[in-house]
Amino acid sequence: MQFGNKSMWQLVFSALIWVGLQSAAMAEVRGIDWLELIPPEELKAMESQPIVDHNGTPIAPDYSNSHPVLTMNGVEGRIPGYIVPITVTEENTISEFFVVPYFGACIHVPPPPPNQIIYVKPEKPIEMTEIWAAYWIEGKLKLENQANSLGQSSYSMELTSVTPWEG
């Protein structure tokens, strides 16, 4: 390799700067914690609940007190979670899915309350994912006013990307 070539060095330097910018951009993506989606008073109530008991009948969950955090509307970031497909196209791509904090948890743990579920309908269906694998789901959180039996709004997200979560 000839080290005397000036234009080649320029190329190497610009490549390094580009790589640096990319990793800086990555570092700027805001991480969203699942607990941020729960109002503080509900979090306090959850902390006072008894520890999961693996004996006896589980208590049916009461979600009438589950509310979203209104300030999370419009927040852009990424959240680690599990993808549950709702609608799958004929080409085996997912056109609608839920993002949940855990999946396949033992039956004694209540299912996620509405403020721990994010509904996503991407503009273009995404490639099929592993149900039991965790992913970084990046996008903009939105609060939709949906008429449901609980009469509350719920989280949805404008999707930017889905990448596998690796440790």
Partner: protein, 416 residues
């Protein structure tokens, strides 16, 4: 380049018989490779288009995949039934928008009979499209039946025709409900799903024809005018559920799974389907690997054929060298020949695939419910063909290199 092409073509045509056998080998292996891929894609999309628009499927406690298979695809049998009061409790929940129960267990000349409500035709969809009637309408009277497209076509039924249902799912069945024939009231359009091979009747009709059956055996004739009480279903096989809001999916699913009155399982169809595919994934892999090995075998056959003739063609190479061809041209000739053989093999294999698909389409549909497609090859199929082409050229590099070395060594003199 074109001179090389013409030379290679002429050379191959000169050895017609060997060439034909080699091309046939490659063609058959390509047929297998593409056939497996096509079947895999069609089976998957056939299954995927069947499950559409339903939020939850509820049945007696069973493995999710098993429940999916018998309730939607009519493959296998139910483990147990769901009691009518559980169905009512489910249907009257605040978060449930609609609930369509189905009752399986009878058949008509091998086609499954589905007892259900007229809501079935209003709510159930395939490929995101609602069910459409090409003739007639949903059942109205007690003994009215609606036929799926294939049932009407294969058995030649028209509106107003009479048909008799059989007890159980065997195609040739001695247990006929011939005391209560049904009238064809409607015929559905093609969906490319198991609905095409189903006969739909009302839940009350299923009750009515079984009124005189005890422990699976018929005693006498069914009562002529059954009362409403007699027609009340006591249990169903499964329930398709649509929710008012998607966000309630997990809560309703959990409520059904933990119901203390009756052991039931609620599944999200999309999730259960993915579980099915992960189970079948191993089989798919094995099939693809086998097909790839067969292609390799075909290409090695081509290698054997090319290598075999190399010695005989020494004089031919010498003549070419004498006429001014360099060693690169000579080896290029062999590369071109292998390329041509692979291309011919690919095209013949593709042609065979289309011919066989066209010929076997109706049988495959009848036997498995999978609708084969005669369209352009899919992206994955193009990729596979690309790999075959590349492999063919790589395999051709072996005799090409040998020819290069030999023609260098031989020069224009043939040592024989």
């Amino acid at each position: 380049m074109s001179a090389l092409f013409r030379l290679a073509w002429a050379s191959l045509v000169n050895r017609r018989f060997t060439v034909a056998v080699t091309v046939a080998t490659i063609a058959l292996s390509v047929l297998l490779l593409l056939g497996v891929e096509r079947l895999r894609i069609e089976a998957r999309s056939s299954f995927l288009r069947t499950v559409s628009g339903t939020d939850l499927i509820v049945g007696a406690r069973a493995h999710p995949v098993q429940l999916l298979l018998y309730s939607v695809f009519h493959l296998g049998d139910a483990t147990n039934n769901v009691g009518w009061d559980s169905v009512q409790r489910l249907a009257t929940r605040d978060d449930v928008a609609w609930a369509v129960p189905i009752s399986l267990g009878d058949s008509h000349r091998g086609y499954r009979v589905v007892g259900t409500t007229s809501d079935y035709f209003r709510h159930l969809q395939t490929a995101d499209r609602p069910l459409a009637f090409v003739q007639g309408e949903a059942f109205d009277g007690l003994f009215d039946a609606v036929l799926g497209a294939d049932v009407a076509a294969k058995l030649g039924y028209a509106l107003g025709d009479s048909m008799v249902l059989a007890h159980g799912t065997a195609a040739l069945n001695p247990h006929q409900h011939d005391d209560r024939p049904f009238k064809v009231m409607g015929i559905l359009g093609r969906t490319g799903t198991p609905m095409d091979q189903s006969v739909f009747v009302s839940l009350q009709a299923i009750q009515a024809i079984h009124l005189n059956w005890r422990s699976g055996t018929r005693i006498g004739n069914a009562p002529a005018e059954p009362t409403a009480e007699q027609l009340q279903p006591s249990s169903v096989t499964a329930v398709f559920v649509g929710l008012r809001s998607r966000m309630a999916t997990f809560a309703v699913q959990r409520a059904v799974n933990e119901d203390r009155n009756e052991p039931m399982t609620a599944i999200m169809p999309g999730v259960a389907l993915q579980q099915l595919w992960s189970m079948l994934g191993l089989v798919e892999r094995a099939l693809q690997l086998t097909a790839a090995c067969v292609v390799l075998a075909g290409l090695l056959g081509m290698l054997a054929a090319l290598l075999g003739t190399l010695s005989e063609r020494r004089r031919e190479m010498a003549i070419l060298r004498a006429l001014g061809a360099g060693p690169t041209t000579v080896s290029g000739l062999l590369l071109m020949e292998s390329l041509l053989l692979t291309v011919w093999g690919l095209l013949t294999g593709l042609l065979l695939l289309y011919v066989l698909t066209a010929a076997l389409m109706p049988f495959v549909l009848q036997a498995t419910g999978i609708a084969l497609d005669l369209g352009w090859p899919a992206a994955s199929e193009w990729r596979l063909m690309g790999w075959v082409l590349l492999s063919g050229v790589l395999v051709g590099a072996v005799p090409a290199t040998m020819a290069y070395r030999r023609s260098l060594a031989d020069g224009m003199m043939v040592k024989q």
